[in-house]
Structure formats: structure tokens, C-alpha cells
Amino acid sequence: MGVTTIKPGVLTTVQDWGRSGYMGSGFSPSGVMDTRAFRIANLLVDNSQNAPVLEFCLAGPTLRFTTNTFIAITGGDFDPKVDGRPVPMYAAVFVRRGSVLSFGAPRRGMYGYLAVAGESFRVPEVMGSRSTNLKCGIGGWKGRALNTGDYLPFETKGLDFLPNLGSHALNGDAAFYGFDETETVLRVVPGPQDSLFTERGMATFFEEPFSTTTKCDRMGFRLDGPEIETVNGSDIISDGIAYGAVQIPSHGRPIIMLADRQTTGGYAKIGTVVSVDVPKLVQCAPGRTIRFKRISVQEAQQLFREEARHMKALEKMVRRPCSGGISPRRTARRLTPILEAQALASDGEKLWIELSQTDAHKHATARGEQG
């Protein structure tokens, strides 16, 4: 059971939270670019938090499913379709055996996610993670991005899980990303080398607008904008680079360091984008206006904990049985595709309720034979 890759898309990789514990040895943590979309995709299909997903950038893959299952698509909106028909994002979507998932033109965002029910893709754990590290060629699917013809296996639970998943849906996440707003505000905790910048440099950074460029990838996003002034150059003795660190190289424009960043570097870091805001950045297409807002580390950690609570609440809401309320018509509508699916899955051999095994049926058969 799994998916066959008909078209691989641009950069489709298996990712999870990332490979922690090896930064000290020089390994990028890897992992998903948009941690929020990743978490939501997994919770929509009842997966554990760290189940590996497929991440794709702008051009999504075309995949054929070899079994019936539920999937969830989150993050950037690239017009997902199953067998040519549009399917909702931020919802558990049923796909039949033989169905083809494809994507159209990117509408908003940069990175999309696909989670499959039943703990998603079956790839070996390397150094504690299933994330693809492209530079080292480890993790994920053979340490690389998907190619045409790749068959990616996934786990599937029995069909008994399906009725619950049918009602899992959210109203998207556009408000969080601010897709409809004209600019993206990223909150930044100053440091560790903010003291290497002049007062004017700090003012430029926190008051002037910057914009995303085409120079953006899993390593980092380079921004364009006014030059940020340093006291005496931005070279430092190389030190560790945190997730979301804002490096200012000698040209004076920010580079925000992301999942595939190098672990150490010799440019001064003016600040660090707070963890909860990194997903907003990675979904910014080139040319988007970015503003930085200064906050304290205590405030940033408060936001971090609020986000964790929010995700817990979201999970509860999604998993509430019959979140659509009890309506016979709605329930019937929801059950029909599930029953159809089960009939299809049975291949005409067995029905989903084994009548011959119920006592009543046995008695009836016995009486019939005697009569």
C-alpha cells in the first residue's frame, strides 16, 4: 500500500519535526519548513504529532494511491484535485484505490503538506528522524526528493477508522498566514549579536520594510531592503545558528536561516524570528513585504506556549465526534462514501459485516435447513 509517483513536483521530500541531537556534529536539523501546517495535517488524519509527511514546494506532485485511505493537505494552496475534481484543504479527504492526487497552479503560499492516515509514509529512521537531509543524502525517501516512478509505501489502519475521520475538517488557516493582508509582520527577539549593529542599523531593521526575494529555499530566505548598518562589520567568530536566526552578511541585507541551514556561521545575527512566526515567513512568495517587530524572549516564549495550547485545542475540536452536529441527512451523506469505500475495498468477496458470523444468522440458517 502506498503511492506511485506519476510526477514528482519540484522538491517533494519526506519530512518530520527534524533530526535533533546532531547539530553539534554539523548536521542541519532538516524537518518541515512549516511546522504549523505539518501538525495540522497530521492531526486531521489522527496521526501522531511526528508522523512523516510529504512536503512540496509550489509545484505539487501527482500521485496514484494503491489503496483506499484518508489524506489531509495543508499549508500553501496549490489547487489540489483527486481524479481531476477539486478537494478541500484542511480536511480529511477520502481517496480510493487507483485515485490520482494532483495539483494545479499555486494560488497562495510556498510549501504544501500531505499527510496520510495511519502514521503516513513508511521510511526508515536515520539518526532518530525520518526527515530528508538532501546535503548528506540521508533520511526520507532514499535521502533525496521524489522522482517519477518512485513507489512510496505508507501504513494503513483497517477501515474501521474511517467513519471517525470523515468529519475532520477546519476552515483553512488563511487568517494565521495573513494571506489577505498586504504585508507579513514577523516578531523578532534581538540577539545574540545585536550589539554589533549601530542604533541606526537597529532602527532600519525594526522600522523599514523588507521584501522576500527569489533567493529562498529550505536553507534560508534572503530579503531585500535597506542596508543594515554595523558598528564595525558583521564578521564574527563562527557560532551556532538557531532556527529563524536573522543573519546580516557584509552586504547588509537579512538572511533568515531555516530547516536546512548550516549549523554554524560567521555572520552577525541581529535577532531571531520567533518560532510561531516562522511558518508565516516560509509561506511568503517572492516580493512580499516583511516587517520586523521587536519582542522580548519572555513574550516570545509565552507565544510559543499559547501556540502549543492552541494546537491541543484544535486537536480536541477536530476529533470531537460528529463535529457537524447530529443530522440524519448529513450523517447519511457522510456515511455513503464510507460505505461505498468499504464495499469497494471488499472487492466483492466479503461484505464488511460478516453475516455468517452473527448468531442470529447462524440460527436462521439452521432453521432454514431443518425446514
Binding site: 553539534g24 548536521f27 567568530i237
Partner: protein, 248 residues
């Protein structure tokens, strides 16, 4: 220069909501590396709940943590408490990882350049290069790429004018005042003087990288025949990596 046994202070800087740096010095030195090593060991042996990983670099130690488990102020207080009596270079144990290297010939295409630049014979280059242990100041740039301190000045050689697009894993080179071994195939501009059959990096090994910051590397010269023999052993999974512990 500070007293070797002085209790040392460090500054704490903020690296966002999930990391902080302990900054021990502003210049690179063996003493600073030793101090960072000791601090990292202290925090590893007696871990603080919520701390996820440590990234030692030349002059600082990054502490990555989970803000849901511990807040910044509490973590700072705990670290200060644990590292209050941090001494450098006291009862120091040196762990040395021995790297067999076949110098010159096909494995060291730039040996000639280094000889010409230094005016030394090949034997002298090898003798000097293998003459002492190198302290690993930091790992970075590539997984397992060790920044080594203390290359003999006579061997300092400028980098290649045009970097190679591919340098084989295990290659040992000199780049300016630095020397080191390439843990995996990579582009690079260093003068390659030899190659080791050992794999500093192997993702399938329990310890994917053979060494860590604060330890030492010792290059030991081998013949092409020994190179072939070790390579065979490694392929068969029978090679025993050599580690020496001194001062224990």
C-alpha cells in the same frame, strides 16, 4: 592569559525563544575549547529538563531547549548554578581519534604544491603534519567537518585559486592556516595532501561522527597497501577504529 585553573565566567546571549548561547571568550584558544568542552560535559552528565541539544563552537556553547518545558529565566538560573564552579584544564582527559592517512601520490594530488610552497620534502611534510595531535575546536560547515587548531606554520599553504567541484570523502587537506579531513564528498578549495580510508561520517553507525568538539585528531601515516587493507576491513564492517585516552 588567564590562570589555567581560574573559575571562569561566561556571558549569556539570547538566540530566540528556543536557544541561548553561553559565551566564554572573544578569541579562539585551546583553553576556551577546553572550557566549552567541560561545560558541555557538565550539562550532558547532569541534564536540565527541557534542554534538547548543545552546539559547541569556537568560543561559545549554544543550548537548544523547549520553551514549553522551561522558560529562559529559569534555564539561565539553572545553568549558572550548574556551571558555577567550572574550571578549565583541570584533570583534563584527552580523547584522541586516530586517522590513518596515505599521503601523496594519487591520494594527495596537491602534495607537490605544498612541498614547493614550504620548500620541504614529502617526508618532512608528512612528519610535520603527523607530528602532533590537533584539537577539534568545532564541527560545522559539513556534517563532521572538524575545525582543527594548531597547524604547524611551515605547512600553511594558500587555498586553490579555483576550488575543485568534488573532493572525495576522507581527503586530508590544508587551507591557509587550517588542516582537516573531508567527512563526505564535497566541493572544496583546500590543498589535498592525502586520503584516509576511514569514514569519519557513517549515518548507519551508532555514533555517526567519529569525534566531537574538544577531542583530538591524530593523523598516522600508512602505505597504499595498508590503505587497501583497511578499506577492505571497513567494507566488511570489521575495522576497529582507534581511540586513545590520555590523562585518565
Amino acid at each position: 592569559m588567564r590562570n589555567e585553573c581560574a573559575v571562569t565566567d561566561f556571558a549569556i546571549t539570547i538566540a530566540g525563544d528556543s536557544a541561548l548561547n553561553l559565551e566564554f571568550a572573544t578569541t579562539i584558544s585551546a583553553q576556551t575549547s577546553g572550557l566549552i568542552r567541560t561545560a558541555a560535559q557538565t550539562l550532558e552528565q547532569d541534564p536540565i529538563e527541557g534542554v534538547r541539544e548543545l552546539v559547541p563552537t569556537f568560543c561559545s556553547l549554544m543550548v537548544i531547549y523547549d520553551p514549553c518545558a522551561i522558560g529562559f529565566d529559569e534555564l539561565v538560573a539553572k545553568i549558572r548554578g550548574k556551571l558555577r564552579n567550572l574550571n578549565s584544564a583541570e584533570n583534563e582527559v584527552r580523547r584522541i581519534c586516530v586517522i590513518p592517512v596515505c599521503y601523496g601520490g594519487a591520494f594527495g594530488p596537491d602534495m607537490q604544491t605544498v612541498m614547493e610552497h614550504s620548500g620541504l620534502s614529502e617526508d618532512d611534510v608528512v612528519r610535520i603534519h603527523t607530528g602532533h595531535d590537533y584539537l577539534i575546536d568545532m564541527l560545522g560547515f559539513l556534517p563532521g567537518f572538524a575545525y582543527l587548531g594548531g597547524l604547524d606554520e611551515r605547512l600553511h599553504t594558500p587555498r586553490l585559486a579555483v576550488p575543485r567541484t568534488k573532493i572525495e570523502a576522507g581527503s586530508v587537506g590544508i587551507g591557509g592556516a587550517q588542516t582537516g579531513i573531508y567527512p563526505l564528498d564535497s566541493p572544496g578549495g583546500w590543498q589535498i595532501i592525502g586520503r584516509s580510508p576511514v569514514r569519519p561520517y557513517d549515518p548507519t553507525r551508532e555514533q555517526p561522527i567519529l569525534y566531537s568538539a574538544g577531542e583530538y585528531l591524530r593523523f598516522s601515516p600508512i602505505t597504499p597497501e595498508q590503505y587497501a587493507a583497511i578499506e577492505t576491513q571497513i567494507t566488511a564492517g570489521e575495522y576497529e577504529y582507534e581511540f586513545i585516552v590520555e590523562g585518565a
